[in-house]
Each structure stands twice: as C-alpha cells, then as structure tokens.
C-alpha cells in the first residue's frame, strides 16, 4: 500500500510540472490550431538559463530560495523574449500556409534551440545546486520531500493565478474571444496579433517556471531534457482536451500519476518482463489510446463534422 501512496506523491509532483508545460501547448493550440513543437525546448532553455543565473549568484551570500527566485525571474525573462521571437519569426508568416509548413518550422526551431543550448552549455549533464530546503516528511508511510511540496504548491498557485487571469480579467476575456473566433474578436476591438504574442509570452513564462521546477526535482539539467518532457506534456494537453485550460491541468496531473503508478507497478503487472525503464512508453501509449477512442480528450467538446 505504501508504494501506492509514494508513487501517488511522485506522480503529483511530476504531474504538476506536466500541467505547467501542457498549459503552454494548449493555449497556443487553442488560439492558432498549431502544435508548438518547440515548447519543450523553451522549458529546457528556462532550466539551463536559470542555472546560469543561479551559479552567478551562488557566492552572493543570499539565502538559497532567494537565489532560486532571482534565477527564475531572469530565466522567465529569457523565455518570454524567446517565445515572442519564435512566434514572430517562425509562425506568424506561415499563418495561411498549408498545415505542414508551420509543423516543419516548429521542428526546425526545436532543433535550433537544442543545438544553441548544446553550444552554449555543452553536452554535459549539469548538476543543479541544492538551494531549496532539502528536508522530507513521512506521511502515511510515504516520503514527501520539501522540494516536492514546493513544486506542487508553486504549480498550483500559478495555475490558480492563470485561471483568474483568463476568467476574471479583461485581458483574459480577450484571449478567450480570440481563441473562439479571431475575426469576430477583432471586430470587437481585440488586436488578435497582440493577444497571440501575449499567449506565447505567458506560455513561455510558465515553461521557464516548469524548467526551474524540473531541474530542482531531478537535480540535473541538460540540453536534451526538453524533448521527452515536451512530448509528454503535449500528451497531457491532448488527454485533458486540447484547447481547454482546465483540461491541460487535469491532464497533466493525471498523466503524471498514471506514469508514476505504472512505473511502480509494471514489474508486478508483467511478471518482471517489463521494468520501469519502459516508463516513457506509458505516455505514448496513453496518447495513442486517447486519440483513437476519445480525441476530444476528457474535458474537450465533441466536434461534429459538417459537410
């Protein structure tokens, strides 16, 4: 029983991170109908740049969490500029091109970012200094570390803030209107291009946060960490219903839990044939199953096809 609880804790932590990244995917897809392939790499850039800033401040004498916070702020700035630039340079010109073109461009951007990261930070795995509290607590037989608590709490607060922004502010209304129908929204005075840029910027800020949290969770960061994470977060967004913010959050947490529980129990389930090294397969498997049986996701709307 306590492996269940333990894996649940691990899953919630992982899921919170997936949720943050999934939000970026879902917001862009909701507004542009585009899968922002490069989003995972923005997370990676966030992680690595926060690391650089943290290292710069390491000997400043400031308390650990403050250093992390400052690192996060700078990383967020970097990512927001990055997100804004990517949209302007690579996606905006292709708004009316055939579907394949922006997908290929997105792949190109993803490759460029990975290589830039490799050139700047090298191929090595970078260890992240432990600046956050390193204690742990035992709850009902499961171990939950301070870092995990922080991740879950920070992610939850951020997501609550985002929901407030989208549902209660004028800006949020403009975002939702543009996602529903850009033409009508612009007739109502909404500058669709500005909203789209803003969507990318917000998504990138969330990505930076996710990057910092992920590197805190695993203690390492490296140039290739964005790829699989991005793919899984996209799976989470699809699971929850792509275009649906609440769905992205639910999907993220759910996927994290499925993955953690699966990794924990797969040995027992398959009689030792498959081990936890197949963990990544779960996400893909979930993706394929969801897309085949319920493409609109858990919380999305069923779309009828009109002739």
């Amino acid at each position: 029983m306590d492996i269940f609880l333990q894996q649940l804790v691990n899953g919630l932590t992982l899921g919170s991170i997936y949720a943050l990244v999934a939000l970026g995917y879902t917001m862009v897809y909701g507004i542009l109908g585009l899968i922002n392939f490069a989003h995972g790499e923005v997370v990676m850039i966030g992680a690595l740049s926060s690391l650089t800033f943290i290292r710069l401040l390491a000997d400043s004498g400031l308390p650990g969490p403050v250093v992390v916070l400052i690192g996060l702020v700078f990383a967020a700035l970097v990512c927001m500029v990055l997100g804004f630039t990517i949209e302007r340079v690579a996606y905006r010109p292709l708004r009316n091109a055939p579907r394949l073109a922006p997908l290929i461009t997105a792949i190109g951007v993803s490759i460029v970012l990975q290589q830039l990261a490799m050139l700047i930070w090298g191929r090595n795995y970078h260890s992240v200094p432990t600046l956050l509290p390193a204690g742990s607590h035992e709850v009902l037989g499961a171990l939950i570390t301070d870092v995990q608590v922080i991740i879950i709490a920070v992610a939850a607060l951020t997501m609550a803030g985002l929901m407030l922004l989208v549902n209660r502010t004028r800006l949020g209304r403009a975002m939702r209107a543009t996602a529903e129908n850009p033409a009508i929204a612009s007739l109502m005075g909404v500058d669709a291009n500005r909203i789209i840029s803003l969507t990318f910027v917000i998504g990138s800020a969330l990505a930076a946060l996710a990057g910092v949290l992920v590197s805190a969770n695993y203690g390492i960061a490296h140039y290739h960490m964005g790829f699989i994470l991005g793919l899984k977060a996209f799976t989470a967004a699809v699971l929850g219903g792509i275009g649906n913010l609440a769905g992205a959050m639910v999907g993220g947490v759910l996927l994290g839990v499925i993955e953690a529980l699966g990794a924990g129990y797969i040995g027992d389930l398959t009689g030792g044939v498959l081990g936890s090294n197949y963990q990544d397969v779960f996400a893909f498997f979930v993706l394929i199953v969801v897309l085949i049986f319920r493409p609109s996701g858990l919380m999305g709307e069923k779309l009828a096809e009109r002739a």
Binding site: I107, L119, I288
Partner: protein, 350 residues
C-alpha cells in the same frame, strides 16, 4: 498513360552513364569515404520515396517513419548474424522485412489513419519512439535485441556467391565493397523510382491525390478512403523495411541510436524540402540532405581553423544548427519545397 517520350532518351542515357561511373570517379577523386556517402544517399532516397507515397501522394503526415526502417534493419540483424546464429540469405530476408514492416504499417494505420493531420503526426511520432524504446530495452528477461549495445557482425549481402563487402576486380578496375553496394542500392533505388512513377499515374495514385485534396468528396465518389490510405501507409512501410534490411547488411551493425526521431524528421524533410509528392524533387531532397551535411562535417573544422585559427564551435552542433535554420528558411520562403510538382506550386501560390 504516357510512355517515355523519345527526346528524353539522350538525357536518360547520360544520367545512366553518370550513375554508372560515379563511384569510380568519386572513389578515385575523393576517396572511399565519399563513395560511402553516395551509398547512404541512395539508401535515403529509397526511404524518402517510400515516405513520399505516404506524405506526398496520400497527404498523411508520418513523423515516425523511421520505425519501419528499424523493423527491417533489426529483422535482418536477427536473421543474419551471430546473435541467434542464423544466417539467412538476403533474398529471403528482404521480402520478409518488407512484409513485416508492412504489417506494422497496417497495425499502426488501422486505428489511427482517420485522425486529423496534426494528431496523426503526433501519434506516429509516439509510435516511432515506442519502437525505439522497445529496441533499447528488449534485452531482458529474454535477449532479443541486445539493447543499447546493438547487434554486430551482420552478414553482408551475397551476390552470385560473392559477399558485397569484399572487393572484386573486373576489367582491371578494383571495385571495393562500398562501390559494389553502391550499384546494388542504386539499382534498387531505380526500381523504387520506377514503382513510384507508375503508381503516380494510376487509378490508385489518383485516388490518393483525391483523398489528399478533399477526403469527403473522395468518399462520395465511392473511394474506400480508409483502405486506400492504409494501402499508402503499408506500401511506404514496406519500402522502409527493405531499406532497413539493406542498411543492416551494409553497415553490418545496428543499434537503437540510429532510429530516433531525428532520423524520421530527416527523411520527412527530404520529402517536404525536396518537393512533396514530386519524385524528382524528393530525389533532390535526399541528395542534398545526405551530401551537404557530410560536406559540412568535413569542411566545418578546417574552415574554422583557417578563419579563426582554431575550431570555435563543435562542428556537429553547428551542422545541426544550420539544418534547423535551413528548415525554417525553406518553409518560410519556399513552403512547397525546392522542386515542387507544378500542380503543387499552383496550390500554394493562389
């Protein structure tokens, strides 16, 4: 159905002669390593033409195509190496590889081909990754794929009793193994080109284009779009399987590393950058994306040395960086590809 117009014969003969003497000329002038590059170019052109049926003709976006290549390669490795102690001949394994890869194509396609473009892309990407993960991990409890270490000492292809990995002397010219493989690959590539051309101008080819243009209208015309799409998928997969088997015998080694997302993306780019659906364009794409990176790899170090006195940036990273930038640039300025079908250019310009 058009047959070859008589004025095309001189051009085709020229190409034929050029193809025939290329390895000799290149081998003498640039060395065996560059003949190897030509071999890979031929192999990748085969792959690109296979994917062209899926993406170019039928308009189905497959981001995990390399999985079929992997299936073909590993099947060859399992049946013709010391790993299981089996040493089947190439002419037995390659058709089997085509069939098995085709079967995987059907298994993957049957539930997924009705998905919308983007979703199909992601699902196929996921499938490609699943295959790679399984290849990487199926070494316990039963060692099937030998995991990350891969399978080595794969038998080369044997033609008329002569293994193609060994040189042979004909008429005073020494044909190295690499050159012999070149002729095999080019011959097979030509067969694939031929099949592609024939398919393009046929009842099935028209059905694929119809589905790509307007699937609902195609259904209303009585086309069983599900089966026709599945056919494209399975055919593309089987070409991938054959190419994979050839790769395994040529390289004499396979490991999961060679079959990742990047390779799938590469092949897709050959099709898209070259000119989707347009066979000459796809061949051009295959040539460019195999030869240019190699030229770059050889040149980047020395050029930096000459300019800056030392190698500033990792050539490998630089090569990939430029590849990514090229992708973006081509999509921004020539979204139909470098050499698109005349019809396709119309599609995009108006």
């Amino acid at each position: 159905m058009p047959s070859v117009p008589s004025k095309a014969w001189p051009g085709m003969t020229l190409i034929g002669v050029a193809l025939a003497i290329a390895p000799i000329v290149v081998g003498a002038g640039l060395g065996n390593a560059w003949v190897r590059v030509l071999d890979f170019a031929a192999l990748y052109i085969m792959l690109a033409l296979g994917l062209n049926i899926v993406v170019g003709f039928a308009g189905l976006l497959d981001l995990g195509y390399i999985a079929f290549y992997a299936v073909g390669a590993y099947l060859y490795a399992l049946l013709a190496s010391p790993h299981f102690g089996l040493h089947w001949p190439a002419w037995a394994i390659l058709p089997l590889g085509a069939a098995v890869a085709g079967l995987f194509g059907v298994l993957l396609g049957a539930p997924t081909l009705r998905l919308r473009g983007d979703y199909l892309a992601i699902v196929t990407l996921g499938f490609g990754e699943i295959i790679r993960i399984f290849l990487n991990n199926l070494n316990a409890p039963v060692n099937i794929t030998n995991g990350p270490k891969g399978i080595a000492r794969i038998d080369p292809v044997t033609l008329l009793g002569h293994p193609l990995s060994r040189s042979v002397e004909i008429g005073g010219i020494t044909f190295t193994g690499v050159m012999l493989y070149y002729y095999l690959f080019v011959a097979l590539a030509l067969v694939v080109v031929f099949i592609g051309i024939r398919l393009q101008d046929s009842r099935i080819g028209r059905a694929w284009v119809a589905i790509r243009e307007d699937e609902i209208a195609a259904k209303a015309c009585g086309i069983d779009t599900r089966n026709v799409k599945l056919l494209a998928f399975a055919m593309g997969a089987s070409f991938g399987g054959i190419a994979g088997g050839l790769f395994a015998s040529f390289q004499e080694f396979v490991s999961p590393e060679s079959f990742g997302l990047l390779e799938s993306v590469m092949v897709l780019c050959m099709v898209v950058l070259g000119g989707m659906g347009h066979i000459p364009g796809v061949i051009l794409g295959g040539l460019l994306l195999t030869i240019l990176p190699e030229a770059f790899r050889h040149g980047a170090g020395p050029v930096q040395q000459a300019l800056f006195g030392k190698v500033l940036l990792d050539p490998e990273a630089l090569r990939m960086l430029l590849f990514g930038l090229a992708l973006i640039a081509v999509m921004l300025y020539r979204p139909a590809g470098l050499w698109p079908e005349p019809r396709h250019r119309r599609e995009l310009s108006e």
